[in-house]
Structure formats: structure tokens, C-alpha cells
């Protein structure tokens, strides 16, 4: 589904990603861990198409297409969804209208019929219940004044509405209490299917207990320096990143 080859990315003239390789198969769940500042969010933004990231080398192929040539909205239409580490507040933009606009824009682009107000309302109620997002948050401005956990739930609600092919979750677990973490994980697991893939960025083993990944990668200094199965996360939890970084430096 997603193939990243030798990706080099500069931000403000500074090289942040330095030859990153990653392959995510259809239906797979991958987790990326790594020290602060190693480039995890940078990777997620590059995949979603945010401005300000200069790709100097390498390629990203998504579902057979060159992802880097696509506009952010085209990537959303193609099935990429990024749940952001810091969801953006949109004062004055009503959440419900925004969600409907988003769902219908994606449906239009996919040649599906738009949902009318009533059909949409039904859908959004159902999905909001799934992620336990209080209905009053639908009436407010997008993320404006939402608590950290509410913002994350709103991201997951959008995921549940858009049903993306590849979901990137950038620290979806940060700022969530234990119950919220479980709810969010249930939301993700409900969407898990042989057709959908996930890329989770996290610092903590706990999320991986709820959403079991097929593969775990360690991102450091702008590259994947180690990949493994579930046991790698346990090892990291126990020993930290030091040993991997030392091994990498020695190599």
C-alpha cells in the first residue's frame, strides 16, 4: 500500500529525514517509535502533504501513485488520513458543518453521492457514539477550546467518518486518560480490516497493548534504525533507546 524509499527531507534547510525506508502492506498495522525530535511528525506531515517540507531525495508510492506529487486534498481523496499530534483549532468553523463538508468532499472525489443533512446527521451520531465524543462538541467550533482528549477523539471521529485506506496516528495516545485511550483504540480496531493499513507513532507500549501492531520500527536521526515484532517494543520499554543508538553509532 505504501512504499517509502530513501526519503530525504529538509525543513528550513536542515535535513530531518535522512534516507528513510518503509514498506507498509495492505491490512498491516505498523508502529513507529523513536526519541523526541527524531523526525516522526515530520514523516507524518510529509505523507499528508503539508507545506514547508522539502523532499531532496527518494520517493513515496501510495497505492501505485507518486504521493509526493499530490495536493493534500488529493491525498485525502485517495485515502490517506493523518490524525495530528496537535489538532488545529478553527474558531468560528462549526464542527458539524466541517465534518459534513469533509465527508462530502471525499465522497464527491470518489464518485459517490453526497450525503444530505439527514443522512449525514445519522452517520455522524452513530460514529460519534463509537468514539464517545459528546454530541455538544459537534455544535462547537472545530477543536476550539476542546480539551486535549476531546481533540483526539474528534480526530478519531473524522477517521471513522472518512474510512481511510491508510491512517497515520501521530501520538494519538498523548494526553488521553486510560478510558479515553481504550475508546480511541476501540475506534481504530473497529476500522481494522484486511483492506486498511495503519501507521501509529507513539512513545508508549500501552497503546500497542490495545492496538497490536504487526511491525515496530525505531526512527532515529531521520532513519529507521531497527525493525522488529511486538517484542521490540517491550525491549525498548525496558532499556530505552540508548542501546540501539550505540549499536547504530558503532556500525
Amino acid at each position: 500500500m505504501l512504499t517509502i524509499k530513501n526519503l530525504h527531507v529538509n525543513v528550513d534547510g536542515k535535513e530531518i529525514l535522512r534516507g528513510l525506508d518503509l514498506e507498509i502492506g495492505t491490512g498491516e498495522v505498523h508502529a513507529i517509535m523513536g526519541p523526541n525530535g527524531s523526525g516522526k511528525s515530520t514523516l507524518s506531515y510529509v505523507l499528508a502533504g503539508r507545506d514547508g517540507y522539502e523532499v531532496t531525495e527518494g520517493e513515496v508510492i501510495f497505492a501505485g501513485k507518486n504521493l509526493l506529487e499530490m495536493e493534500p486534498e488529493e491525498r485525502a481523496w485517495a485515502g490517506i488520513f493523518l490524525a495530528m499530534q496537535y489538532p488545529v483549532e478553527l474558531p468560528g468553523v462549526n464542527n458539524m458543518s466541517f465534518l459534513r463538508e469533509s465527508v462530502n468532499a471525499v465522497r464527491r472525489a470518489r464518485g459517490e453521492e453526497e450525503l444530505d443533512a439527514i443522512a449525514f446527521m445519522k452517520l455522524v451520531r452513530e460514529r460519534a457514539e463509537l468514539v464517545k465524543l459528546p454530541e455538544k462538541l459537534l455544535k462547537r467550533s472545530v477543536n476550539a477550546g476542546f480539551s486535549g482528549g476531546e481533540k483526539k477523539r474528534n480526530e478519531i471521529l473524522q477517521m471513522a467518518l472518512l474510512e481511510p485506506k491508510l491512517t497515520i496516528l501521530d501520538e494519538i495516545d498523548s494526553g488521553l486518560d486510560i478510558d479515553a485511550l481504550r475508546t480511541v483504540a476501540e475506534g481504530v480496531n473497529a476500522l481494522r480490516s484486511p483492506e486498511r493499513s495503519f501507521l501509529m507513532i507513539t512513545h508508549y507500549q500501552r497503546l500497542l497493548d490495545y492496538i497490536e501492531p504487526d511491525h515496530i520500527h525505531v526512527l532515529a536521526h531521520g532513519r529507521i534504525v531497527r525493525s522488529g515484532g511486538k517484542e521490540l517494543a517491550l525491549e525498548l520499554e525496558e532499556k530505552g533507546y540508548g542501546w540501539i543508538l550505540e549499536e547504530e553509532a558503532a556500525a
Binding site: 493534500p72 486534498e73 493523518l82 462549526n94
Partner: protein, 431 residues
């Protein structure tokens, strides 16, 4: 350059065409205002109030004052949202196009000129008592040429259920016309009303609208006052609204300014007794060849009054805006509560705003704050929407609407709120 010769000459030519007044006392009011004109300061850059608003091209234009009621109106009158509809053409009340039949009998609502001609004492007593004709050239001109406009009077305790809706239209023609409406609104103790004004081109393109509205709110009276200024792209528009608020009265004013080539809206609020509250809000949009100018002057002369001023501007193309908001809290006005904000969103590099909030506080026990911002759309916000599948243009529109929503949402009439949103979308469609 605006010289004394230009300013005086321009005013003089207009005054010569004044026509006759419907009552001797009005003739006096007019001529005393006319006499002020020669002594008034020039409306040029040297005056702070006119520093960023260049009216020189206007003073080089000649206008024909409309000194009698037009015999008819060739265009269509827009649909009203309420049963009480008043249509004015070139500043004159048009009874045959208006409908006030369903208003309670004790309410006076109609032509100011007719009321004066009929010897209405209430007009004689209050007209000119609230607004200072010597404020500047345009207020003096309005007073020196008073003919018609709205006279609305609600006796004590009368509460109107439906809004009173005014349509200001222009008849157009070869010569640019000068419409000079003078409005007087009196709400006696405890009376309540909602007033909606639409300023529209009608058949006109190049014209000057120079309106002056005096509003008297007696103790406990409440007025919601919505104004939609959607003049022609070539029109000049001046509106001054002067408030005289008694104890515990409430005024909620919202101006939505979309139109005009050069448009200036002035609010002048005065609290005369304790416990009064005044809210002024505004939304303005400006593009190429447009200037929107807002001047607010709210005076807290007595204790325990509160005022809120919230204005937002959307600027694009080479649009220009001026915001000058002043709140004065006098020495004895303890426990005053005042808050003023002006936020501007610049969608292009060439748009420009001059914003100046001023708090002048002479009392020591007051709550007062002000803030202004001038910014651009945040790239982060646009990206967020695009990442959710919304194309860039639509994303920009949604964010602009969101910005404007903070004003529009304060319109308590659903139909008007929808009209305002639709009108805003029309502007956004031209971005």
C-alpha cells in the same frame, strides 16, 4: 488637496438647492447648521478623524440634492422579512411602497417630513438635540438640508413583536444624486423594538448617501438595530448614528458593511444615566477600489454603564479599511465596564488597514480593555482542512466565514442571519 475653497464651495452649491423646509423651526435648525459650515475644519489628512479617509475626489464631484419626494420608483422593491416595511427612495419615505398597517396604533412610524409638516411636537423637541451638527462637514450638511427620513416613536411600555424593516433605495439617473436622510427614533421608558436597515443601490450607481440617525432610549428601553450596508460599488456612503441612552436602557447595534466605494459608519454613544448598556458590532469586507471606515466614540459620563465594541474586517485585493474606536470614561464614571476589539484578516498583500483603538480613562475604578489584531489566514488551518479533503478555495472560504461568524451569529433574526451569510459568500466568491 482639500482647500477651504473646495470644501466651502462644494457645500455651498448643495445648500443652494436645499428647497423649502416644512416648518419655520426647521428652517431655523437648517440655517444655523448651514452657518456652521464655513467655520468647520477641513476634512483632510491634518485632522485625525480624516487622516486615512480621502474625500477629496468626493468633493470634486457635484451632486443634486433630492429636495422633494420622488413621484415613484422605477425598480423593484426587495422582499421584506417582516410585516412592517418602510421604503425610502433617495432619502424620502414612499408611503405607497411601504406597509405599516399592522403596527400598533399608538406607534408612530413613517415620514419625518410628514410629522414635521403635521406639527408633531415630539420631533420639534428632539430633532437636533442628540446629534451635534457641528461634528464635521457631513453632519452639518445633513442638518442644513434636513428633509425626510424615518420618524419612529414608541410610547412607554410598548414592545413590538416584529422588527421594523427599512429599505434605502436610490432612483439613479444622469446626475449623481445626494440622499440625505435624517432619522429620529424615540423609545419611551420600557419600550422595545428591533430595527433592520438595508442600504441598497436600487437603480442608482453613483450617488452619495449622507444619513444621520438620532436615537433616544428612555429608561429601560431596548433597541436591537441591524444595518446592512450594501451600496453600489461606485457609491459614497456616510452614516452617523448618535445614541442618547437613559438608565438601564439597552442598545445592540450591528453593522454589516459590504458595499460602497467609500463608506464611513460612525457611532456616537452617550450614557446619560446609570445602568445602561450598549453593544456595537460590525463586520466589513473590502476589495479593490473600496474603503470602509468605522469611527466609534462611546462616552461613559456616568457610573455603572457598560459597553462592548467588536468589529471584524475581511480585506482582499487592494481593499482598505480604517477603524478608529474610542471609549472615554469620565472621572465620575466609576464601575464602568468597557471592552473594544478590532480584528482584521488580510487575504492579500495589497490590502491595508489602519486601526486605532483608544481608551481614555479618567476614573479609577473601571474595567476596560482593548485589543486589535491584523493577521493573515493561518497556513496550519488551511492545511488541516485540505488534509480532510476540502479543496484550498473552499478551505479559505470556510475560514473566512468562521472569522465573520463571530459577528453574524449575534444577529438574532434567523432570516437576516442567513441573508448576511449568503451575502458574505457572494463576496468570498469573488476572491
Amino acid at each position: 488637496m482639500i482647500t477651504a475653497e473646495l470644501q466651502k464651495g462644494w457645500a455651498k452649491s448643495l445648500l443652494e438647492a436645499a428647497g423649502s423646509a416644512p416648518a419655520p423651526w426647521l428652517e431655523e435648525l437648517r440655517s444655523s447648521a448651514g452657518a456652521l459650515i464655513d467655520g468647520l475644519p477641513l476634512v483632510n489628512r491634518k485632522q485625525e478623524a480624516w487622516r486615512y479617509t480621502n474625500v477629496e475626489p468626493l468633493l470634486k464631484e457635484s451632486f443634486q440634492p433630492v429636495v422633494e419626494r420622488p413621484s415613484g420608483y422605477p425598480g423593484e422593491v426587495p422582499e421584506a422579512i417582516t410585516p412592517h416595511r418602510l421604503v425610502f427612495v433617495d432619502g424620502w419615505f414612499m408611503p405607497e411602497l411601504s406597509d405599516t398597517a399592522l403596527l400598533p396604533e399608538e406607534v408612530t412610524c413613517g415620514s419625518l417630513n410628514d410629522a414635521i409638516a403635521a406639527g408633531d411636537e415630539r420631533v420639534k423637541n428632539r430633532l437636533g438635540s442628540v446629534a451635534d451638527p457641528g461634528e464635521h462637514l457631513f453632519t452639518a450638511l445633513n442638518t442644513a438640508l434636513v428633509n425626510d427620513g424615518l420618524f419612529l416613536h414608541l410610547p412607554a411600555g410598548v414592545k413590538l413583536e416584529s422588527p421594523v424593516e427599512l429599505f434605502w433605495l436610490n432612483s439613479g439617473g444622469e446626475t449623481p444624486l445626494l440622499a440625505q436622510p435624517r432619522n429620529l427614533v424615540i423609545l419611551e421608558p420600557g419600550a422595545e423594538a428591533v430595527l433592520v436597515e438595508h442600504h441598497l443601490p436600487g437603480e442608482g450607481e453613483r450617488y452619495l448617501h449622507n444619513g444621520l440617525t438620532e436615537i433616544v432610549l428612555d429608561p429601560g428601553a431596548k433597541l436591537d438595530h441591524y444595518r446592512v450596508q450594501d451600496e453600489s460599488e461606485q457609491a459614497w456612503h456616510f452614516s452617523r448614528i448618535v445614541l442618547d441612552q437613559g438608565s438601564d436602557s439597552r442598545y445592540h447595534g450591528i453593522t454589516l458593511a459590504f458595499g460602497g466605494h467609500l463608506a464611513r459608519t460612525e457611532y456616537n454613544g452617550l450614557f446619560t444615566a446609570e445602568g445602561a448598556h450598549c453593544t456595537l458590532r460590525g463586520l466589513y469586507t473590502v476589495g479593490d477600489d473600496q474603503l470602509q471606515d468605522f469611527h466609534l466614540d462611546v462616552r461613559h459620563d456616568v457610573p455603572h454603564c457598560s459597553s462592548r465594541e467588536q468589529f471584524k474586517g475581511l480585506l482582499y485585493g487592494k481593499g482598505r479599511a480604517v477603524f478608529d474606536g474610542r471609549i472615554l470614561v469620565a472621572k465620575d464614571a466609576q464601575k464602568s465596564d468597557a471592552e473594544l476589539t478590532n480584528d482584521n484578516l488580510l487575504l492579500t498583500r495589497n490590502a491595508e488597514v489602519d486601526t486605532k483603538p483608544q481608551l481614555e480613562i479618567y476614573a479609577d475604578d473601571v474595567k476596560a480593555s482593548h485589543g486589535t489584531t491584523v493577521g493573515q489566514l493561518e497556513a496550519n488551518q488551511v492545511f488541516y482542512l485540505r488534509a480532510r479533503g476540502i479543496d484550498e478555495q473552499k478551505a479559505v472560504h470556510m475560514l473566512c466565514e468562521g472569522f465573520a461568524a463571530e459577528i453574524i451569529e449575534h444577529i438574532h433574526l434567523e432570516t437576516l442571519r442567513e441573508q448576511a451569510l449568503a451575502r458574505l459568500r457572494q463576496t468570498l466568491g469573488n476572491l
